[in-house]
């Protein structure tokens, strides 16, 4: 093990260049001879392509290449391959790509787009999940049966792209008991745009018969493999490298515009740059999906939850995308907070004729936590129990079962609630607000997980005593690549973290990786880096032991030296040993690989899930105080507190920065960020004027307490910390607003007009008639029957 602690207050090495404007993101790359590309997008939500003629565009000034569906034969997706690069015959959403052009200047490329002749016969569009689930609804994918299946087991039919179910215990029996109250709640949330400051951007080239794609992505390997699939070539024909990324939040966890640039580079023989305009980012963002949720619980008067059922509808837009995978998450985000006697859940990804949705920080978790926590307050109110006491009584503890029958280890949420009590009670007591505003407060819990998956790392020991870490990890802003990974390598080798060089991602240089997201960087890449560094350490100690004439076990690596334990200043510098090793046996390097242990669900519990249980659960407790203006409906957040389970904090300051940022992004979601779809099928918010993200004046400093010591398979006991902070912000704000107003909060965001409607009792209860009353009637296939589609 390392002699030196990996816990450090290491500053980011990329800060100085970022502060000088010197960092070169993908959008800052301009190659000599480079062409500029633009994409023609459909302007109807549904239609049949009658004619698409690019002949005139090809002859326009400056145009070097025009590509269409004929150039990209494949389809991609998760679970099912339903997504072509360009609309082929059928248009399924407003903004769907039809053709792409590369020209000498962007203006020339845009002029050429205008010269493409398109004739489209409009078709009726399904803009909501209610419409898509109506009995006679047309099909967004009439050919859904023909989609190639990439993962067996999900139930599908018509406009239900994927369905995942969980059944554990006798739920009917629980609801039939005479000693229970049955509480039912319904919820609705809108879409959220990531608004990553760097839009999706790519520069592609075709060199020596292979594609080189430089792109702003979180998933270099996905870009490599999915591009190859769309283009119908071998994945090894694609090399992906990634400059610093100007914000991701999950938006860049999927293939984006890379294949357009790649195709155009091959067709033109020149490097091609393609950058989404802000409007393209606003209209075709892979938004956090809108969702509709019904939860029912059977609860005893003493506060025991004996049965729970839920239906979660997730709008995937025109293509399945990540929602197919995310249907899995409902089991853990609705079923991982509280002890449940019995439970059944279904989450369904529903096709609509709208822009596809995608992953966004704590995808699926934010709205399910909002729904679950509001439902929890409604239960507490019904049985006349204090909401916090109800939570204390029911949160999962050591040995308790999650929804899928997974056994949770350790008491974590209980002590975290206790920690929050201390934080909250140390603060000023609740006040009657002098200005007539309504005061509210709430404490909520949330469960998230680390998306583990495979990662690889190599550490090369340099003869000057520095080490180079080679991975497919990407620095998206969270600092994991700049702080936790070099800290892990440095502590293992006893060298200063500043002397660990972190290589930018390059799929030709580093091994496979799932990508940077889901809080997995420190865990998966960290574990791979740790084991690579340990191999280097073992090799170095062996060389040193000959040199110093001491057994490797008697040696320590610290402060750049390999010394005899207990004899500071003895031995040699690591640089001397590394140089000697290089001359004697060749350069020293180590490799490491990691993947999740793969916790199993209880047999028969889940169907259509990508994972049955979670390797590393992460818990969070949030507390929020609000003031609601009864005249305007404006909600001001007065105080915000977070107790977050971090496993072990390698760099507490870096984690606190993530928590402050994540909470503020969550405040936007809770209070004003909402993407809506107009009657024409187009996203209404096309820029910063119409989509308002939090400003400096909207936020409060978050009081943070990092909870360490919960079990984790992460390296050195770590868990991911950057994803979770947004998890229960919507829940905490909604519960606090309900507490302040005494009204039933069923919807986010809580914009002033919405809150005012609540206050004036003008808000109708949210009815979701397209969710059937009997849980089983919401399934296209009974739970656990094999797929016969």
């Amino acid at each position: 093990m390392a002699d030196v602690s990996a816990t450090m207050d290491l500053r980011r090495r990329d800060a100085s260049d970022k502060l000088r404007g010197r960092t070169r993101y993908t959008i800052d790359r301009y190659l000599p001879g480079m062409l500029h590309a633009a994409v023609l997008r459909a302007s109807v939500p549904a239609g049949r392509i009658v004619r698409l003629d690019t002949a005139r565009a090809t002859r326009m000034p400056g145009v070097h290449a025009v590509v269409t569906a004929a150039d990209a034969p494949g389809k991609i997706g998760i679970g099912i391959a339903d997504h072509p690069l360009f609309a082929r015959d059928v248009i399924r959403y407003d903004g769907e790509p039809l053709a792409a052009v590369a020209a000498g200047t962007l203006a020339q490329a845009q002029a050429a787009l205008a010269a493409i002749e398109v004739e489209i016969a409009p078709l009726p569009a399904l803009l909501t999940m209610a419409e898509a689930l109506a009995p006679e609804a047309p099909l967004v994918h009439p050919d859904w049966r023909e989609h190639e299946i990439l993962l067996e087991g999900g139930a599908r039919a018509g406009n239900v792209a994927w369905e995942a179910t969980v059944v554990r215990g006798d739920v009917d029996g629980a609801f039939a008991r005479t000693d229970v109250e049955i509480v039912e709640s319904t919820f609705r949330v809108g879409r959220q745009n990531h608004v990553a400051f760097e839009p999706r951007a790519v520069v592609a080239d075709y060199e020596d018969g292979r594609f080189h794609i430089e792109t702003s992505t979180q998933v270099p390997w996905t870009v490599r493999n999915a591009t190859a699939r769309l283009l119908g070539i071998a994945p090894s024909q694609v090399r992906v490298t990634v400059p610093p990324v100007g914000g991701g939040f999950g938006l860049k966890f999927d293939l984006a515009i890379e294949p357009f640039a790649a195709l155009l580079a091959r067709a033109s023989g020149r490097p091609v740059r393609l950058v989404n305009s802000r409007e393209e980012e606003m209209l075709t963002c892979l938004f956090r999906e809108n969702a509709e949720i019904r939860i029912r619980s059977a609860v005893t008067r003493e506060g025991e939850i004996v049965g729970r059922e839920a239906v979660v509808l997730m709008d995937c837009g025109a293509y399945g995308g990540e929602q197919i995978f995310l249907t899995t998450m409902t089991a853990h985000t609705l079923g991982g907070n509280y002890r449940l006697g019995s439970v059944r859940l279904v989450s369904r990804a529903v096709y609509t004729n709208t822009a596809p949705n995608g992953a966004f920080r704590c995808c699926n978790g934010v709205y399910n936590t909002f729904a679950l926590e509001r439902h929890t307050d409604e239960i507490a109110e019904r049985i006349g129990m204090d909401p916090l006491a109800f939570r204390r009584r029911n949160v999962l503890g050591d040995g308790d079962l999650g929804a899928t029958g997974q056994v949770f280890e350790g008491d974590v949420l209980g002590p975290m609630l206790h920690r929050m009590d201390t934080l909250r009670d140390a603060a000023a007591p609740p006040r009657a607000l002098a200005d007539g505003r309504l005061y509210g407060r709430a404490t909520t819990v949330g469960t998230w997980f680390v998306f583990v998956g495979p990662s690889a790392a190599t550490v090369n020991m340099n003869a000057d005593g520095t080490a180079t870490l080679v991975t497919s990890g990407v620095e998206i802003g969270s600092g994991s690549m700049m702080q936790s990974l070099p800290q892990i390598v440095a502590s293992t080798l006893g060298i200063p973290p500043e002397t660990v060089i972190v290589r930018a991602a390059d799929t030709d240089a580093a091994g496979y990786d799932v990508g940077v997201g889901g809080g997995r960087t420190t865990v998966s890449l960290g574990a791979a880096s740790l084991s690579a560094a340990q191999e280097v350490r073992t090799k170095l100690l062996k060389v040193a032991s000959d040199l110093i004439e001491a057994a490797p076990d008697d040696l320590v690596m610290r402060e750049g030296r390999i010394e005899i334990a207990g004899a500071p200043g003895s031995g040699r510098t690591i640089a001397e040993v590394a140089a000697r090793a290089q001359a004697q046996i060749g350069p020293i390097s180590g490799t490491g690989a990691f993947t999740g242990a793969g916790v199993q669900a209880m047999p028969g519990c889940v169907a259509g899930h990508f994972i049955g249980a979670i390797d590393i659960p992460i818990f969070a407790v949030h507390d929020c105080e609000v003031a609601v203006d009864p005249e305007t409906g404006h909600v001001e957040v007065l105080a915000y507190r977070v107790v977050q389970d971090v496993g072990r904090a390698l760099n507490p300051r870096a984690i606190q920065g993530q928590i402050q940022g994540g909470v503020v992004q969550g405040l936007g979601y809770a209070l004003h960020e909402e993407v809506t779809i107009g009657a024409n099928g187009r996203v209404c918010q096309n820029g910063f004027e119409t989509y308002r993200v939090p400003l400096a004046q909207d936020v409060v400093p978050v009081e943070i307490s990092l909870y360490e010591g919960a079990p984790s398979i992460g390296p050195l006991g770590t868990k991911g910390a950057g994803e979770v902070p947004i998890l229960n912000v919507g829940a905490a704000v909604a519960c606090a607003v309900a507490n302040a107003t005494g009204k039933r909060v069923q919807e986010l965001p809580l914009t002033p007009p919405r809150v005012l409607e609540l206050l004036l009792d003008r808000k109708q209860d949210i009815a979701l008639p397209h969710i059937a009353a009997a849980w089983a009637d919401n399934l296209v296939r009974p739970h656990n029957q094999p797929d016969r589609s």
């Binding site: 800060a15 970022k18 502060l19 404007g21 010197r22 004027e689 400003l695 400096a696």
Partner: protein, 152 residues
Amino acid sequence: MVFTLSVNGDRLASTADPVTPLVDVLREEFHLTGAKPVCREGFCGACMVLVDGKPAPSCLMPVALAADCEIRTVEGLAGGGTLNPIQQALETCDAVQCGMCFPGMVVTLTHLLTTTSGATRDDIRAALTGNICRCTGYERIIDAAVLALAAT
């Protein structure tokens, strides 16, 4: 038509169309890519530069209007090899995440620091209304401004 621009003390010539936004000229002609065209609507502040000493979004300024002005971009704010006081404070406070908003933040806060004394946290928040950050939740940025103000 050729414009002569004064950027970070250098005289630079541009042949751009007079209505081209200054941010595009800076980036594409002069390869000063510090200013970021994030929203192109004047809302986010990531493209902020000093025009005759005052912060202005370079996405809204036609290059023709900039011709007779002194332009200073984020690249011109660090004194030689060292960071200026606000850059230094932002580094010390570990404020930077993805970094895309920082060129504009640095411009706005450098201006605040050189023109104001005794600004409170609320004053700093108010000064930052034209600079959006999607990553950090602002507090570290405000901490840094407080630190830099205290040191001047």
